[in-house]
């Protein structure tokens, strides 16, 4: 079976600073990969390389077996990559519903009532329905984070890239988020989730990858990765110390 995502020998540098160095892994549908690593390890850069906001210096990105390494971000999205930002970037001039609707029309290529249904569905899944007609610029931070996820879902992704969407959430909210992501994985999506809140990650991910200085430090069973000495050296989350 072809993995949804296959990354091979991915490399990127800003001048002499190497931010991604020979990164290789693949991910099947219905599975979730957690990414951890210290700040500046190149986690968000990796998501940018996959989503297309950065083009790799070398290496390939395959989605469903198609080489999309040179594709622009919008085309990758239409093929099935959804991405959320760490710092939410809603379209402030549009309503919450319109934010999701733009994603459903452009990203999923839906028209008319199908687009409306997809947008409404994405808002339902993220608990934003009651805010549907509010201006997105007025949402508080947590709802902005939900909107990031709703928008990414409305594009109808096969692969979902989540960049620290758990940060700043309360424990019940985090549980809700974990349930949502677990549900998406169960529906067959491939999920990559960058998160500092390791216990949340452990509830969802099948596999863990630890990045440090742009390199894959360890990859495999989540608990094994977190327990490995190399990872403990560079990355010691508060949950681990406990």
């Amino acid at each position: 079976m072809t993995p949804v995502l296959a990354v091979a020998g991915l490399r990127h540098s800003f001048g002499s600073l190497v931010v991604a160095d020979d990164i290789t892994f693949d991910l099947e549908g219905g599975r979730a990969l957690g990414i951890v690593g210290p700040n500046g390890a190149g986690k968000s850069t990796l998501l940018n390389l996959i989503s297309g906001t950065l083009r790799p210096s070398s290496g390939t990105v395959l989605l469903d077996g198609r080489d999309i390494s040179r594709w622009p971000a919008d085309r990758r999205c239409r093929l099935g990559i959804g991405r959320t930002y760490q710092v939410p970037r809603p379209f402030a001039e549009l309503t919450v519903f319109e934010n999701a609707l733009v994603a459903a029309s452009a990203g999923a290529g839906l028209r008319g009532s199908a687009a409306y249904d997809a947008a409404a569905g994405a808002l339902d899944r993220t608990g934003l329905r009651r805010h549907a007609n509010e201006g997105a610029g007025r949402l508080p931070l947590l709802d902005r984070k939900r909107l990031e996820l709703a928008r990414a879902l409305a594009t109808g992704p096969r692969l979902l890239l989540l960049d620290e969407i758990g940060g700043g959430l309360t424990e019940p909210e985090l549980r809700e988020l974990v349930a949502t992501v677990t549900g998406l994985r169960g529906a067959g999506l491939a999920v990559i989730w960058i998160e500092h809140i390791v216990h949340a990650l452990l509830e969802v991910v099948d596999e863990m990858l630890c990045l440090a200085a742009g390199r894959v430090l360890a990859r495999g069973d989540p608990r094994d990765v977190l327990a490995s000495p190399a990872v403990r050296d560079v990355y010691l989350g508060p949950e681990l110390a406990a």
Partner: protein, 290 residues
């Protein structure tokens, strides 16, 4: 009664200014590009109409069927081939590109059409008027211009509010990077926005040509009127542009009522007053950024 007449004529003239300024407002609103060739492009449209009339003896209105789509295609190409490259080099580059385009257009038109003043035939409509009261009458042509301006602005507003492409355009105006992650090709959105802008300025350019004379060097003077209408109304607001056009038109006709020499000056003074007292424009909510 002469004052009432001046205001009335000003409102009607404002319709034409608003129609002309729509493209400038749209391009700034969506792409943050200030198109310094806006005036020259409208003159180009008028000369295209002039050439068509010269060759095929068409009515001025019929030329719109060719000129408006042709200018829209030109707008699409200018965005894709010129401005898009400029945008990658930073916000100042497109400004310089449009300035260059303005110079090129003026000289090309001078070469092709000589510096003579031209006018487009307005036919019977140009002189027909509607007698409202004994001392008050309005020209049908001016009424038509205002009607077209309202129709174009309302149409654009509906397009932006109700259609998928319109929403994509608003989202792109908000954040051109994020939309790409939602599957929107922002270059395509920009090119279509420019095409619409060029279509409206072509329509306005031909109507301007039917109203007054034009020559290859008049573009920059026209551009100032468009600027003033956009700023008076409030940047990025389409209905604001209509209000700005009307305010500018009224200022000019009322100024002309005092002395014909004051027409353009009065418009500039109102523009300056708005800049000083209400820099965000008359229709923008108070406190919003200018």
């Amino acid at each position: 009664m002469t004052w009432v007449n001046a205001v009335l004529q000003g409102i009607l003239l404002g319709g034409l200014y608003a129609l002309f300024a729509t493209g400038l407002s749209l391009m700034f609103g969506v792409m943050r590009i200030v198109n310094l060739a806006h005036g020259d492009l409208s003159v180009l449209a008028a000369f295209l109409a002039f050439a068509l009339i010269d060759a095929f003896a068409l009515s001025s209105f019929v030329t719109l069927i060719v000129v408006v789509p042709a200018m829209a295609v030109l707008g699409y190409l200018v965005q894709r081939l010129l401005l898009e490259r400029g945008l990658r080099a930073g916000p100042l580059a497109p400004l310089v590109v449009t300035f260059g385009l303005s110079v090129v257009l003026q000289n090309a038109l001078l070469e092709a059409f000589s510096p003579d003043s031209r006018a487009l035939p307005a036919g019977a409509l140009g002189t027909a008027s509607l007698q409202l009261t004994e001392s008050l009458s309005v020209g049908w042509f001016a009424v038509l211009c205002l009607g077209l301006a309202v129709a174009v602005l309302a149409g654009l507003q509906l397009f932006l509010a109700r259609t998928a492409f319109g929403r994509a355009m608003r989202a792109t105006s908000d954040d051109r990077e994020t939309v790409q992650l939602l599957g929107i090709d922002q270059r395509q959105v920009y090119a279509v926005a420019t095409a619409i802008a060029f279509a409206t300025l072509a329509l306005a350019g031909v109507l301007f040509g039917m109203r007054t004379t034009f020559d290859p060097s008049i573009g920059p003077a026209r551009l100032i009127f468009a600027f003033e209408a956009v700023i008076i109304g409030g940047l990025g607001s389409l209905w604001g542009t209509l209000a700005g056009g009307v305010v500018l038109g009224v200022a000019q006709t009322v100024g002309a009522q005092i002395s014909p020499a004051y027409a353009v000056l009065a418009g500039h003074l109102v523009f300056l007053a708005v800049l000083v007292l209400r820099p965000q424009g008359i229709l923008a909510p108070a406190g919003s950024r200018p």
